[in-house]
Symmetry: C2
């Protein structure tokens, strides 16, 4: 059944194909589909069916996904806090002009809000530009902060691989994660200069180099020469450099390089790279980090060191399938961005990293699905149950006592639930203990405490129940 | 200096004044201001100055505000978890048609996204409608969840009183908070029927009743009779009812009321209200709750019990100023909303509450400002410092050891910081301990641990340092 939203979506597919100059056959096929959908909609005389979905490129998080998300966040936040970072937050939308001119070609992916009178607004595209606006507005020159929030891009979603239109960014101080590639924009620019790339072509050639993680050198070279008009000699000289990667010995080698060592920018970059590797040696983590001359990073605003965390191929428990997600974090130094917001252009040097949380979610979700591990979505310690009928009031009295003592407790919302159903609820949701009230227990001033896993049952005096539950759930 | 955004904002001010039929003088004043701004902008020949601000009705959260926000959230989440609630999340925008027809007159306050091809989208206006969409989409009939997220309303902001255009909603199961008012839509509808209000006027008369917390009965009555065409007799009958409030005895009295007891809806509502008060008695919280016949709640989707938490007047430590913020939470039962999304119209009964987090923030912020309490924005346990120059490497080695052991530690990002500056940093940021390395300490295999508050200094063997820091910061 076609509906208006689906037709608009299909129209967008066609528009994008045309824009990307796709195969005429493919375009024709999608146009035919669009026309058919429009006809269907017309036949329905404008009365359209309701679509029950989230917007394209977005998802809901159910309790299970949220439990996974909280695990990932908690691991990351613990790390930030260990390094003394503060946390900030900014609005989900900014004045449109705040975002204007910050993202180059990617600006077309920004979500604008409809002009409903008042200010013109756009949804944030990343957390970096709002952060720079925040610094300039509050005249802050010194802060170590993290920011976990969703950002919005009108991109082609690839949801199974963790690529969404609404997704989390998580901008902290640098956190080493898995395997790190590192480079410096000044080394790249110096390299372009000594290879004979004209100044005007620096950025476009840089974006060709950025594709080396997905394309072989030969293809990148032919793009440089064919599409971008670089001389074959210059391209070959670049080719020699960008295949280099290593550690301190490579830095020393390049500092001696007859051409690079003559270039002021490259020398500065290499000097700082050397210092960085000295610190990394102190931290004992050089084994996880590679200085890689092919690392370029897409965004324009970087001015110094740049880095990317790469997730190496993962295999599941059975060793059958493998997941490759490539880059899961990236960032660098951007010394010019805050100055773009400051009326007097005062610069504030910044360095940051953005973690691709959604990709990490995807991986963790897939792994947990493959494993037998059961994910709890609540933290309930005990279910208050009854063995006989007519004990609703007694259940409520007992749970009220437990809640007041800070115990996480639940009760079934039924007047006379069967004991079997109450026990089954614990099995399903992973509640470890059941506190059972019955007529005999009430007479004796005790509560029967049942351990769900072992089916063990013990009578506990009512005044000792809170302590006993805490002891058994290790939440003293 | 006028800029485009400011001019647009001013134009909106004028438009709203006209819409609200404000005083001609006031309109004229604002129009003059608008014209002046436009002239300034024109004189600038289109080249507009950059405005450094967040969109109207929104705010950044700096580290201090975030620390307060985390306190409030943590208190609320702890309560939700104690009652076994799960957590979910939904996208910040929905298909426009998902929100259409759910908010009555308030629909004009919804933020739409610009039509950039593809689906038509709107920012969520509350968390209730997305939740109902989530339930219908996933065919869920049974869930106890909370959802903490920002919602968006193009309202007239009143930021000092905690009213924003971007603000948090927090929808959990019911949490008693301060003083609660409770009523039932069926009791209200039954009351309108027996007072002689025509069916067609139920909603508009209900929204007049809703104003009783801000207006005296005489004004509400004259709105009912004058603007809404209700007979004076009907209004007077309503007036008698809506001034009633109490507990179990009032419920019993109304169950005997010769008119109300004849109305099926009112009888149902009163029966359930009686049951509710029986449970509240079991929980021992009837003292905090009042059955109040004037409570009406604005939104259309409620079908049964409704409630509102009211913050009573607060005084600061000196008893000089007072803060009155009125309602800080509200909610009720809405049995029809999920069915609006289900293709077969299957109903899923729901009950929820929304907490006005921003108002609670405002109050807590004001209180903390008035008090002497210093708010820490990090959790750093120790600063790694040096007493002499040339010890950067030793500082980095030590902090690396501490980080690896899970200690929250910081180091100043300077080559040779003065000891005084390092100690001052601890004073400023509230770091309780300093671990000082010096040449003598390095020789002796110890670290000097200084307690910032007492200036006490002790030498600790390096291998015992982690344990000592944990002991002294109670984070064993």
């Amino acid at each position: 059944m076609a509906d208006e939203a689906a037709v608009r979506e299909q129209a967008e597919v066609v528009r994008r194909l045309k824009q990307d100059k796709a195969e005429p056959d493919e375009i024709a096929k999608e146009v035919a589909k669009l026309l058919e959908m429009k006809a269907q909609l017309g036949g329905d005389e404008g009365k359209h069916k309701f679509v029950l979905k989230t917007p394209k490129g977005t998802r809901d998080y159910g309790p299970k996904q949220m439990a996974i998300r909280e695990r990932v966040f908690s691991a990351i936040i613990t790390c930030f806090k260990r390094h003394g970072a503060e946390v900030i937050d900014t609005p989900v939308f900014e004045l449109k002009e705040t975002l204007t001119g910050k993202y180059g070609e990617d600006s077309k992916l920004i979500y604008d809000l409809k002009d409903q009178g008042g200010e013109l607004l756009s949804l944030r595209y990343d957390l970096t530009v709002p952060f720079a606006r925040y610094l300039a507005m509050n005249k802050i020159t010194n802060i170590k902060r993290y920011h976990i929030a969703k950002v919005y891009r009108r991109d082609n979603p690839a949801m199974t691989r963790g690529r969404y239109r609404e997704f989390y960014q998580c901008r902290p101080i640098a956190v080493p994660l898995l395997f790190l590639l590192v480079n410096d924009r000044r080394i790249l620019d110096g390299m372009f200069a000594v290879c004979g790339v004209p100044d005007s072509k620096f950025r476009t050639i840089c974006s060709s180099v950025d594709k080396l993680d997905k394309m072989p050198w030969e293809e990148v070279r032919s793009e440089m020469v064919g599409e971008k008009g670089l001389s074959p000699e210059a391209a070959d000289r670049i080719g020699e450099y960008v295949q280099l990667h290593g550690g301190m010995e490579l830095i020393e080698q390049l500092l001696q390089d007859p051409k690079l060592s003559q270039n002021k920018l490259a020398k500065e970059g290499l000097g700082d790279m050397k210092l960085l590797f000295e610190y990394l040696t102190l931290f004992g983590i050089t084994g996880k980090i590679s200085f890689d001359l092919s690392l370029a990073r897409g965004l324009d605003y970087y001015t110094g060191v740049i880095y990317e965390a790469v997730l190496l191929q993962q295999e599941n428990d059975h060793g059958e399938e493998s997941v490759s997600v490539g880059s899961v974090a990236g960032g660098g130094r951007y010394d010019g961005l805050v100055g773009m917001f400051d009326p007097k252009g005062r610069k504030v040097p910044c360095v940051g990293v953005s973690i691709g949380i959604e990709r990490l979610f995807s991986i963790l979700e897939q792994r947990l699905e493959a494993s037998e591990e059961k994910i709890r979505t609540t933290e309930t310690q005990v279910l208050v149950a009854s063995a006989q009928k007519k004990l609703l009031e007694e259940r409520l009295k007992l749970i009220s006592e437990l809640w007041d003592a800070g115990i996480k407790a639940e009760v079934l919302y039924k007047k006379n639930p069967k004991l079997l159903n109450q026990l089954q609820y614990c099995e399903d949701t992973g509640i470890p203990l059941v506190a059972i009230v019955g007529e005999q227990e009430l007479k004796d001033g005790v509560v029967k405490l049942r351990v769900v896993a072992t089916r063990e049952e013990v009578n506990i005096r009512r005044e000792s129940l809170v302590e006993e539950i805490r002891r058994r759930t290790n939440q003293l």
